[in-house]
């Protein structure tokens, strides 16, 4: 009964005309940035964040969330038609999606990607609805030690999954933690590494770091090499998958959904990792693995479902624990704080209309996205024909102006440029930016939790091992940390095949 009351409350918020418009705008912009290669949800969100300051918190979060899961839908279109990932989580869709398109089955690939995303998105929202309340009561048992251990686990998971070299990924995470220390110390009030620069008092902003590392660096790489633009001409037919396609895909969609959802919940997980993991699993259990990479529809259905389910799952740690599991969630955390809402276990109690309004808006948004991505596919195909030479200067502009518009600060533009050069060098050396950014985001929270835990335990680190929840998190983290050292397991680690980077 309570569930119906919650749903009723959610619908009464989500179906307000204003919120419907915000939801539509979010999903539309999300699909657009998803379709455009090199542009992702963070760039769009940072540009539009200031525009949402004057709206209600519900409207703001509904729109920003729409951008995120909309980008997951849109990304597949570019991967399938152009063999370029429109969004980082769609990298793996290129493998079979583009092959299907070359065989004249672009319609089926686009169709199954959209339906898979819709099914996964919807199941993900139901999961979110069912899991959030129990998780909140579980999270109320969390003290600083549990938070600290969970964040450590999140960082270890990301370095374990996302990189070929765990030591280098951990190096990048440490660098991110160091950068996260810049600014005023929350406990003592002392300034750290600010060198008298007022813009640094609040620390280095997340947006300049992300825009620089992922956006500017990509443009600089593009300056030194000319990208080949491959586009499949011809009208796209047969967007409705056949019964045979469904029979092949349905289990891949279900597996992708479950896997993606749980990887999304985990701090450090997310759409990109979920998509890669789903592809690896589908290939491994398939009776015809040799067809993967040559146009197997499961290779599109699984990963596309996984990244959408992960996008929904990622909201759970943010809304119930207050821990952002990826950069996009960190942006949403910022947006919530700007509106005076503190995410965490008390959010559900203090702002139920916001929580349920956002959850229900996702149902509405998913239906909007299905319409945007299937009957209106021709529109996105036109968008895809915008040449790179127009697109890359535009990305540059979006990054620099996006960084400026958040705080009206030129210092942020300088930081963006600086991190752009750093990101370029990191890309040259195949050092991953994702662990660095997650550590940068979690760093200040981790520090507070660590210091509080130590004060509470009178300086003893045993607090992390004697409390059962914390001990479990730390145990898994230690296990993952040492697994790559076992020679037998070294080559089986997903990181050995996942080279996925994130994007803006």
């Amino acid at each position: 009964m309570e569930l119906f009351n919650q749903l009723y409350m959610g619908f009464s918020v989500a179906l307000q005309p204003n919120n419907l418009i915000y939801c539509f705008l979010g999903t539309l912009i999300g699909t657009l940035v998803g379709v455009l290669p090199g542009l992702g949800p963070v760039a769009a969100m940072s540009l539009l964040l200031p525009a949402t300051f004057h709206t209600t918190p519900e409207g703001s979060i509904i729109m920003l969330a729409g951008i995120y899961y909309g980008a997951m839908y849109g990304g597949s279109t570019t991967s399938i038609l152009m063999n370029i990932p429109g969004e980082a989580a769609s990298i793996v869709t290129c493998l079979d999606g583009h092959e299907m398109a070359k065989q004249g089955r672009a319609g089926a690939a686009l169709g199954i990607a959209a339906f898979g995303s819709f099914i996964a998105g919807t199941i993900g929202i139901i999961g979110m609805q069912l899991l959030s309340v129990p998780l909140v009561s579980f999270a109320l048992k969390f003290g600083p030690a549990e938070y600290c251990s969970l964040m450590v686990l999140g960082m270890v998971v990301l370095t374990f999954l996302a990189s070929a070299s765990m030591v280098r990924a951990l190096m990048m995470a440490s660098l991110g933690l160091v950068l996260g220390c810049v600014g005023q110390d929350t406990v003592s009030g002392l300034m750290r590494f600010t060198y008298g620069v007022p813009e640094l008092f609040d620390g280095i902003g997340l947006v300049p770091v992300v825009m620089g590392l992922f956006g500017i660096s990509e443009v600089l790489l593009n300056v030194e090499r000319v990208a080949k633009q491959e586009f499949l001409e011809g009208k796209i037919k047969g967007l409705l998958p056949t019964m045979k396609d469904w029979a092949k895909s349905i289990w891949a969609i279900i597996r992708g959904t479950v896997l993606g959802f749980f990887l999304g919940i985990l701090p450090g997980g997310g759409g990109t990792i979920a998509a890669f993991a789903s592809y690896a699993i589908e290939k491994r259990i398939s009776p015809y693995p040799e067809k993967f990479g040559k146009g197997a529809i499961e290779g599109v259905a699984g990963p596309e479902s996984a990244n959408n389910a992960a996008a929904q799952g990622a909201f759970i740690p943010l809304l119930s624990l207050g821990i952002p599991s990826n950069v996009v969630m960190a942006m949403l955390l910022g947006a919530l704080i700007i509106h005076g809402v503190t995410p965490g276990p008390l959010l559900l109690e203090q702002h139920p209309q916001l929580f349920w309004g956002v959850v229900v808006s996702m149902y509405v948004g998913n239906i909007m996205l299905l319409i945007l991505n299937l009957p209106l596919i021709a529109l996105w195909v036109k968008v895809l024909k915008v040449p790179y030479s127009i697109l890359f200067p535009l990305i540059l502009l979006l990054c620099l102006v996006g960084a400026y518009s958040i705080n009206n600060s030129m210092a942020d533009v300088w930081f963006t440029l600086g991190f752009g050069i750093l990101g370029y060098l990191m890309k040259k050396l195949s050092l991953e930016a994702a662990p660095m950014v997650l550590a940068f985001v979690l760093g200040p929270m981790l520090e507070t939790a660590l210091r509080q835990s130590l004060i509470k335990s009178n300086g003893s680190f045993s607090i992390f091992f004697t409390r059962p929840i914390s001990a479990a998190f730390i145990g898994i983290a230690i296990l993952l940390f040492f697994v790559p050292m076992l020679p037998k397991l070294r080559k089986k680690r997903p990181g050995a095949v996942i080279g996925g980077d994130d994007e803006i």
Partner: protein, 152 residues
Amino acid sequence: MRTYSVCNVVLIVFGAVVCMGSVRLGFGSFSDPGAGFMPILCSLFLIALSAFDLVFGVVSHWETDRKDEEIWADIDWGRLVTTVAMLTMYTILLPLVGFCFPTVLLLLFLFRLIERRSWWRAALWAVVVTAAFYLGFGLALGAQLPKGVLGL
């Protein structure tokens, strides 16, 4: 391989500088951690990992690491350095003369020199994109754009 070693050394030096700066902030004690506590731990971790990678990475990543000549091959340094210089100029000009003028200049440069479009086509695109950006983001969506002496 040399590039990776240089990178490790840079990170070790960076970590050492942060560590020394953090000592001045005060480590405190484990029961009462000071402002320098977290930076010291993180920088020590960074130094340890970089040193490990410096010593053992060369051996363990011998096959997977890209060779120096691969990393720095086929780079058009002229284009790269000019782009960074243009972006720096753009960032200097933004607060002085506002959004529109430097943006047209930057785009003109990118379209002409990087994308090799004809001058008139580059100029046309630069003006169109800047105007669309200004109208779309600045006016319609209310995003904050830098305003210089020209107010644009």
